[in-house]
């Protein structure tokens, strides 16, 4: 699946997007964040406070307990500051 990162999540990880293949036991957004955090220092830094991170699946906001099955694009970003 495609993953996108924005704002300081993007800066900390050092890339804007990538394609990942998490193992089958990674079923929810929460679990995906934990799995991503183990991929390196940048990831660990980006996700150090998981409760702050907002997630969207296929362009819609989702909660941490949302299932990721079937997702085409998952995005992680800080709280929004538009407007």
């Amino acid at each position: 699946m495609k993953v996108k990162y924005f704002a300081w999540v993007r800066e900390r990880i050092g890339k804007a997007e990538e394609t990942i293949e998490p193992p089958a036991n990674v079923r929810t957004v929460d679990e995906l964040i934990a799995w991503l955090s183990g991929r390196g220092d940048g990831y660990a830094y980006a996700f150090e406070k998981p409760k702050v991170i907002r997630t969207a699946i296929d362009h819609a906001h989702v909660k941490p307990e949302a299932a990721i099955a079937g997702a085409r694009e998952i995005a992680f970003f800080p709280p929004m500051t538009g407007g």
Partner: protein, 155 residues
């Protein structure tokens, strides 16, 4: 009558007068026009800033704004609705965001514009980075924006 919202996410500036005119010129059903223009200020907190840079999530930004525009159209008897949100580098004094609502009566136009601004602040995937003498840093979300958005949730 079905109202279609105009939604634009663009780097270029917008013209408030032109957007107001597009929703009201030559019409005799519109009794109230509300416009909200958000402008880049020269300070964040008490610190002077050189500019803001707005990052956004293309695709989701349009989808998210469209969803809230449709909700506004369902909740209030609007005759027209335009939302323009800029991205990229924006200097103090420049426009950031515009919401224009039109209706027969003023209350619908006011409420829908406030509702949309509250949701743009908290739900639209845009992030502001500020440039100042100390370098660049990401602006943090404010709790009272979440509170402002929450007041529109039906209980």
């Amino acid at each position: 009558m079905t109202v279609a919202a105009t939604i634009r996410i663009q780097q270029a500036d917008f013209d408030v007068a032109q957007e107001i005119a597009r929703l009201s010129a030559g019409r005799t059903d519109v009794g109230a026009v509300v416009s909200f223009t958000g402008i880049c200020r020269g300070t964040e907190g008490s610190e002077p800033i050189a500019a803001l840079t707005l990052e956004h999530y293309p695709g989701m930004a349009e989808a998210e704004i469209k969803r809230h525009a449709d909700e506004a159209i369902a909740r209030w008897p609007l005759l027209g609705l335009t939302i323009v949100h800029r991205f990229g580098r924006i200097a103090p004094g420049e426009n950031i965001v515009l919401v224009v609502t039109t209706s027969s009566h003023r209350q619908a136009a006011f409420e829908a514009a406030e509702f949309l601004m509250d949701y743009l602040k908290t739900n639209a995937p845009f992030w502001k980075q500020e440039e100042s003498a100390r370098g660049t840093s990401w602006i943090e979300a404010r709790d009272h924006d979440d509170a402002a958005a929450a007041r529109w949730t039906k209980s």
